[in-house]
């Protein structure tokens, strides 16, 4: 009886050793030599596989970083500047420090300002509604409110506000991965410079129609009057195709443009409340 146990232990052990040997030889013969730095770089990357770098996942981006000679134009939108600096250190290459960005929804067409003129009951996707027709209000560039941007967000940073029917970006969660910008069929979402205390000032409209036409569909549309352009002391505002645009990198957040906008199309967010102008005694209202 004990013989059987001994034989089986010995023969199985031999078999195991043999198999291990074969595996070892094969593993040596077909060894994939990989740069160990790829693993190190990957550890520094966020691991969200969001595709914001235009590569299929973080590992592929790490490989690209290691392979490339010049990595200054490669950028992970999600990684912080510290992460990227660490990667540059591992690789011994130069990397450009980037401005942090944040997604901004450039439409303020709430039902109050932009009443619905018809009802859409087709498939609940912005891209389908956009290809079919102009949308529930008459505005050809306004938000359709069916949430394509919400569905593509990997970071839970954007949600639909039920009251306004417009998407809202949570600045702390947004990594500027560009997914919502691509998903929006009307190019309403833009990546803008992230300022201190999440302050932003932007034209919340992308309608390029003539002023009167745009105004007819939406009370807060940019009508391209150009008053903000004249007001801006830093030449940060340009007017093209009946639409004003504030360059986020030139803008110094002086807030002079917002009050002159006749349609309140320029939004200022996270600023302290304005001090009310003290009217000089004896001056009638409206005269300075």
């Amino acid at each position: 009886m004990s013989d059987v146990i001994v034989y089986s232990i010995v023969s199985l052990s031999l078999l195991g050793v043999l198999a291990a040997l074969i595996l070892y030889i094969i593993a040596q013969k077909f060894k994939v030599i990989e740069d160990p730095r790829i693993d190190l770089v990957e550890q520094e990357l966020p691991g969200a596989n969001c595709g914001g770098c235009a590569m299929p996942g973080c590992r592929a981006f790490a490989e690209q970083l290691v392979k490339a000679d010049d990595i200054s134009d490669l950028n992970c939108p999600v990684a912080t500047n510290e992460n990227m600096a660490a990667i540059a250190k591992i690789l011994g290459k130069e990397i450009a420090e980037k401005e942090p960005l944040v997604a901004v929804v450039r439409c303020n067409g709430t039902p109050e300002f932009r009443p619905k003129t018809n009802h859409y009951d087709g498939a609940s996707e912005c891209s389908i509604a956009h290809s079919l027709y102009v949308g529930e209000s008459g505005c050809p560039s306004g938000c359709l409110g069916l949430g394509d941007c919400v569905r593509v967000c990997n970071f839970d940073a954007i949600h639909m506000d039920e009251k306004t029917g417009l998407p809202v970006v949570i600045d702390d969660k947004c990594t500027a991965c560009n997914a919502c910008v691509v998903a929006c069929p009307r190019d309403i979402i833009e990546l803008r410079k992230k300022n201190k205390k999440d302050r932003k000032i932007f034209v919340s409209c992308i309608n390029e129609e003539k002023g009167g036409v745009a105004r007819k569909n939406c009370k807060v549309a940019c009508i391209g009057c150009g008053r903000c352009v004249k007001e801006c002391p830093f030449e940060a505002i340009t007017l093209e195709n009946n639409l004003a645009y504030i360059d986020p990198f030139k803008c110094r957040l002086c807030r002079k443009c917002a009050p002159v906008c006749p349609t309140n199309a320029i939004l200022e967010i996270n600023f302290p409340p304005r001090k009310e102008k003290k009217e000089k005694e004896g001056t009638p209202a409206g005269e300075k």
Binding site: D121, G122, A123, E125, L132, Y133, V134, G135, G138, P140
Partner: protein, 443 residues
């Protein structure tokens, strides 16, 4: 056994309530809004400017590319402005707006009703006249007709097919045209045969129009080479590829054109338009429109000038009923809902349907239960449920490999789906993305 196509198809309730209503001529509108893009292809370039006086039938926008068509003024009057005006999709497109003064036609145009049978023109001359008259396919796809008539080198047309199937429910404009303009249709067919250089023409008509079949069969005796064929009532019998399969039992290859199997298909409306263009010098400035709907007071078939606002057409049919839920441009299967009725009738408007609220709502969408009804009725042998799932997830490669581009958007899958899934909406999304990818690949 009546002829039909072998795969798929559905039979929705017909509701051809306007079949017995003779063609009425709608009065000329006060203002005509004529979009410069009424056809498939590049928009035309306006050749008139603000303040110009135009006559009916005068060229106002010139074809700008290979796939494009001329646009003529449908009314006489003064060009008020050239501006962006809401079109049937709700987007604003360039249009010529003409304030109507009287009804004066261009001198060259023969507006008389006498039938002109004889013609001594060559094929090329007929094609040239078709191109000049801005004729496009009047079945609804609005593809410029002269391109279809110019047979590419190395290919040969053997038979001309005239499409009188009118398989969409409600629509009856082709039916009335066949009954009331039978002779014009026959001469038009003869002209098309000459242009293509074929000896044989077949007119296919769904068998729910026995009076049209009978009328055209009796006329066809006098026209050599033209035969009339009744077809089984089955949607989409009037789709180009299905009609070819039904009539001559040939299959157009995937991605191919009818000319690849030696045939060309034209709508009955197009044939009549060609007759008018060649024999009467009359460009395409008016078309027959069915206006129908169960709650309309006076539904009917109207001869409408291009550019007439849809609202005036509805007024002629007794005004918009109170319970209106949707106004559809085209047939109930393939048409699109309008978001305002202040849009002009264009070359592609075959019908305007007014649906009451309770009939126009989409039902609640439920999950796919894998019943495969969409697969069994798809006339192009596609798998709609799969295409929908793939385009919902953005898997464009699968959408492309499963031949989404073969889909002709007949809407049978959305009609038959017991879960009321918007299958066609997603297939359309897939198609537009796949064609975008193919375009970018070519560059």
């Amino acid at each position: 056994m009546l002829k039909t196509f072998p795969k798929g198809g559905i039979h929705p309730a017909e509701y051809k309530i306007t079949a017995g209503k003779p063609i009425e001529v709608l009065p000329v509108p006060k203002t005509a809004i004529i979009p410069v893009s009424q056809h498939l292809g590049a928009p035309s370039t306006p050749v008139v400017k603000k303040g110009d006086t135009v006559k009916a039938g005068q060229l106002i926008a010139k074809s700008s590319a290979f796939v494009s068509a001329n646009i003529h003024s449908s009314v006489s009057g003064k060009v008020v402005k050239i501006d962006n005006v809401t079109d049937t999709s709700g987007y604003r497109k360039t249009s010529v707006i003409i304030e109507v003064e009287g009804d004066e036609w261009d001198e060259k145009i023969d507006t008389g009703k006498t039938l002109k049978k004889e013609f001594g023109l060559s094929g090329e001359e007929i094609i040239k006249k078709t191109e000049e008259a801005g004729i496009v396919g009047l079945g609804g796809a609005t593809f410029p007709s002269h391109i279809k008539l110019s047979v590419p080198k190395g290919k040969k047309a053997e038979v001309l097919i005239i499409n009188g199937a009118e398989c969409e429910p409600y629509l009856t404009s082709d039916h009335r045209l066949m009954l009331e303009k039978g002779d014009e249709l026959m001469v038009g067919t003869k002209l098309l045969m000459k242009a293509l250089g074929v000896e044989k023409a077949m007119i296919g008509i769904e068998n729910n129009k026995p009076d049209a079949v009978e009328h055209l069969t009796s006329l066809a005796v006098n026209y050599k080479g033209i035969s009339v064929h009744p077809l089984k009532v089955m949607y989409p019998q009037g789709a180009e590829k299905q009609l070819i399969k039904s009539l001559i039992n040939r299959e157009v290859p995937s991605g191919g054109l009818p000319i690849d199997v030696g045939t060309v298909v034209h709508n009955v409306g197009t044939a009549v338009a060609v007759y008018e263009a060649v024999q009467k010098n009359k460009p395409l400035v008016e078309r027959l429109v069915t206006i129908s709907g169960k709650s309309l007071k006076n539904p009917g078939n109207f001869m409408v000038r291009i550019g007439t606002p849809v609202s005036e057409l509805i007024e002629a049919a007794g005004g918009l009923p109170e319970d209106t839920g949707k106004v559809i441009n085209g047939g109930p299967m393939m048409g699109k809902a309008l978001n305002t009725i202040e849009v002009p009738v264009t070359k592609g408007t075959s019908g305007i349907l007014v649906f009451p609220e309770n009939e126009s709502k989409r039902e609640e969408v439920q999950n796919c239960i894998r019943c495969a009804r969409c697969v069994s009725i798809c006339p192009m042998a596609l798998e709609p449920y799969l295409l929908k799932a793939a385009s919902e997830r953005g898997m464009w490669e699968i959408v492309e490999n499963d031949k989404a581009l073969d889909c002709m958007e007949c809407g049978s899958c959305s009609y038959i789906c017991p879960s009321r899934l918007p299958l066609l909406d997603y297939i359309r999304l897939g198609k537009s993305n796949v064609s975008r990818i193919i375009r970018s690949r070519k560059q």
